[in-house]
Symmetry: D4
Subunit: 229 residues, 8 copies
């Protein structure tokens, strides 16, 4: 009855040499046995695995096969780290990750932990939405020292514009699906950010913390003069 | 050939007693002779006339019949004032009208001059967009003293949220059609404002300076304890 | 495993002095222990707490820690009142809250109870939709006496326009997500209200009863000459 | 060079027997010589011609070949009438055509003159928008006597809902492209009308006065017991 | 704790004399005890009740209080009929109700049974979608005899256009939410129908079988010369 | 209580002679007993049945009545094959079915198995998305030999454009609803494909693997010179 | 001052061998001298040139340099043919090109003349929209003999569905931007076609006659067993 | 008559120290005398001026007052350079600017010339759209050496995804408004890019070459270890 062995996926074996980043797993929607198989194959090949959008039940399944797997409920990241994940040089370069509200933190943590996994240093600056503008202003100094800022915000998404006007390095804006009514699952925040009147702002997809963390790591590597971190 | 006399419009003779505001003319798209007719009728009835979205050529036509007509190119308001337009009591109550950029000024002027025509006092605070956040913060004191604030902004429309977090009185947000690309003729700014995470913000239609000025006048009258100003 | 203590939220300690309103809790989606923590902290700081979009199960959890917590199933407001919530001066000023249909009542109650919590007096005028126009007309006198009117309506949202033509004070329009088919979760009603041909109408987000109640309270305070009620 | 004779259009010779209505010409965008050709062919076949969305310059061109052609600048209808267009029985049955504002009149006239051309009697009730609700209420008696009502409105399009609640016969709603900002060329009015909470309302395309006049004529014929009028 | 007695709804007591139709209940989302209350009140006032979008569990609840209540699973209509519902004169006038596919039948039945409840005679012509065009053509004769046709279709909604070209009486088009992908819950079908190149077509909201049945009854009454059937 | 026998569907008995394809069943949403009835009737008439979007529980129900029914969990196809389904001539003609990622495979399998059921030969080329462009380039030779290519992709849907530039035969693009954020359930992929700058690309509805397999079979039959395969 | 020599475009020299089709020019928006340069280069390389969306003034400019250039005002195609364009074998295979109305003919001619230029035989079947369904049915025989059908339609775009149900070969649907109101520049027709309930239909971009002609030629070549025609 | 002196704009005097970039002028829509005034003020303050979206007539007006003003017709940049604009260190760091087609070049030039004005080195790689995939692949080496890549594309916007899979540094995607039909003025390309399945891609507004050039310069400065270039 049907496809008993599901072998379609081909490993992209040259990705790390081409892009400087290993393959990563988007866990959401993947069936259990299939997911375990991918984690095993990548662990064997790379000595480490990184997955996003994992559920706690996926974690429990993977943990049975790979006991050293780690899971974070907030970011929903499911990873197996290698020894070299823990040794980072610190040359003072860092990424700042900000949120407008507390509801944006899961996406921010996906971004922050992605960057950390790829070897970058991260400072978290959460709950500094523009309706209490003094909160973000009180962090101006640390924002200006960051090699780039990830601005995570739902609702009206104005955080990116305010930060964009305060700093000299790139701001990566992440709209979140937080909100209701005419927020359209994050589309309103995305439009706000794309139309920002501030300079130095680029935008990734709604809730795409991973993508923001990835680009921020690319910039971090350039800034710290170490292309593979 | 067709409708030689176009007499369909009925004057809404009880409007002023019902609402506290006289009839107003939306000039855009009205044919010349028809527009002159309305101005004459209203001038006769009310002793004054107020019209919005007038072109300079409409002004020139109306001026021939009504030499005391006044026109402002920025706000596109075409009006005939009466003596009582000029005597305003000043009890310290005022409306603040802000813009994000200079391109938003025509809409802001429509709002400001509407409120002034209806008897309110107005303070203008222009070009204080959030990408240079110190500009709006330097005006915090005057914003807090206003009985209400009209926040006019295109592009990403974040100005209203920042002001909403600074003041205790209502903020009327006016999205403008200024922008390009994914600004959708002001719809992105409208969505930003509708989704604002700040409190005390309500929204009018894109470029609807008149509507904002009208509501602001209603609030001004309540605040100054004078329902018909 | 991950973030055992979730301490990101910073209390906005100057909000009440800046805006005249205390911090308020948006309950929906907040985890139980986290929600209880916020309620306790705000109760300690302010002597009262006000939260919207609470579920009955959230109420039950909060009640265990704070027995004096009160919950209303219709408005979904979960609050802890202080003694001063109950003493309101009555100078005749009031807010009228109207709905088009009975299905709009939960949003209307969120608005009404918000305003009452903040010290305003409210009159409810429900189920006066425009398809039976005599219903709203029979309430014309009370509508005209209100310092402002909150018009809550889904489907085609025409209620605001009709009321806007009857009164001299501001009308705050609240589109609701009531409807089906091409109602787009309230977006059609929002567009109707934003495009209203009546004057004096401003709009808040879909189902945002809280926001409407907040602005109405701001106007109420101005009208009754008592900025902090 | 190319298609010197453009003969693709086949006359739909059985249309009148099938549908009770002759072929009609949508003039907008048709080239002059081609348009004249169609008018001549239809005049020969039917002894009369009816065209919509004609420009004044198209009228001038057609008039050269068919001097009895008549044009109305408001409705933009260009027609050649036959003797039987003028003899209508009057059994008291009539169609009411209403508009919200004066700017909606061109579309209303397209509807009214279409119905008149096809043999129906029409009463015009213009400029009765809902922001001055007494205006439409003062016409309640004549609206209730009509066999159907055509409600033409732009902006927020609420007129149809109010009328729908007042009458026992069908209301045909025509959204118009009048408006600005978030009116989206009439789409907001269309959505308002489609979502109407009143019963007995059906909707035609934006600015489609012709379509409304056609359906109203169908109902008129049923009501007056004369299927081909 | 909150609103123990929920008495906001006012009965619209003059509706039947004004519109020729009694009040009707939209059951979806109404709480059980509240729904039973409405059914009882209307049964007492009118001797009959008609409700749409009822669930089977709502039927079971109502049946306990009103044993003569009847329910149809396909149309989801929950009604209590009176003796006069069953005596209809038959003068040969009838409404045709068509569907494109079998999945559109629930909406079609809501339309058909609504019209039947209000006293009209109905012929059903189901599963005659345009991708097998001979099916609808084989029904041409009965379609042409109907006083009006209700065309119910999802997906691309082309059925209305084909029927519109075949008949002389009005076609009421009902888009359904049947479909997937880019059907947008019926919006694509709605747009198809609104843009129909055939004449005599008007459109109601997505899945609004009740609305179509109501208008069809209005036309039926006019055609059979019996305004209250 | 209601429609005990649901006999509305008329079999389209001339379909196979008209179109070369038998009737097919869209299973999703069909009730169990109704579905079994259709399968039985078609099996009797055609000696085989093919259904799409079947759930595993529908399979279990049908299997009870028709034990030879076969189900594939990936494609969700539920079929009863006849002897002639298994004899295919092989003249070297084949269809290539490609996917951008592994999550697109269910839609691709619906396409592939549809074409196979109708007698075509299919080559599968999965997980060759454009972000690892060498993967699709390594398959260039087999793509160029196919009589047509089905390109299945979600997210940004760029696969079709790249393939369109590599081959001389038609490319049928199938957007999938895979994605999140601003992917709008596949609408973004659909727009990408419709706007492709490559030639030879046509598009079917989101997730419409069946439709793509059907058209590919039509082309396969033309290419192999066998109109009924 | 600026870019005096604009040499960015690289000729895609292997396109014809890769795809079986030469490079083609999209004329709209190209500056005169630049356009002439491209025509000259391609004429030199290929001995022929084919361009779409040319204006008459572009034709006049090109003609000065290349006197044998030919232009068709209806299709807006500007081409230079070579001798081999005129020798076509005729094995009875042909493409049928249909339109719903006469306003769709320019797009249909772009499709038809594209296919003819690439060596295919074309039959034109114009003005057979579904509101007069007998027109398309009277062409059923020729439609069934075509190797594929191009269905060009604006407004509600239902033509493709009806044809799809009549034929055994592929139908390529081309939505046109003809229409007004809620036709959204062709988007409504595109959605109709994408959602078609008929099988064998694929869709190209709005007004993309060229794209449809290209795919039809690909199918024509497969059907006539001559991959390069 | 009106606002004779238009002095609203306040110079943002601390911008360069805060952000590392001087104030820039968005010329489109600015009135002549106003524009000249800004250019003069900025020239005096900064010794150089940079403006985007200037028309040739604006250039001619500015040139009269500031003869050393330079204008580029392709990018529409109007600038006055200072001596230090011309001395750039070259440490091998550079930005790659790519386009899908030739029609995207004006936006690409706005990006490239912006980056050059701010001191970065730029390599141009134009007309390498994905429908001829060998074109972009032949540039793989130079793309991999760039510190970041700006990918400018309209229509389906797939260029960014392909490049994203080839390089290790950030890709800034710029959708352009090039296209027709369902390209929605660039919105389709924007959605493609936002949904890219490749990593390392961020997006700016439609046609926002300036914004892309600005961010690219920020990254260039970080990569070359020179924060103010």
């Amino acid at each position: 009855m049907g496809h008993s062995d599901f072998k379609y996926e081909e490993l992209d074996t040259t990705r790390e040499s081409r892009t400087g980043f290993p393959e990563v797993v988007f866990c959401e929607g993947k069936k259990d046995e299939y997911l375990v198989g991918i984690y095993k194959k990548l662990l064997e090949k790379d000595g480490k695995v990184f997955g996003t959008r994992a559920s706690i039940s996926q974690y429990e399944v993977v943990k049975k096969s790979i006991p050293e797997a780690e899971y974070d409920e907030v970011s929903r990241i499911l990873k197996v780290v290698s020894a070299d994940n823990h040794k980072k040089k610190d040359d003072g370069t860092f990424i700042a990750v900000c949120t407008g509200g507390t509801a944006d933190i899961p996406v921010a943590e996906e971004a922050a932990q992605t960057a950390e996994y790829f070897g970058a240093r991260v400072e978290r600056i959460y709950d500094v939405g523009v309706s209490g503008i003094h909160r973000v202003l009180s962090k101006q100094s640390i924002l200006q020292d960051a090699c780039c800022v990830i601005a995570v915000a739902g609702m009206e998404g104005a955080l990116a514009s305010v930060i964009g006007g305060l700093v000299r390095n790139p701001v990566i804006a992440v709209p979140t699906s937080i909100g209701y009514g005419a927020s359209f699952g994050g589309m309103s925040a995305l439009l706000t950010m794309i139309n920002s009147c501030a300079n130095g702002i680029t935008v990734v997809n709604i809730d795409n913390g991973y993508g923001a963390g990835y680009v921020a790591t690319q910039i971090y590597r350039l800034a710290s003069g170490n292309e593979s971190a």
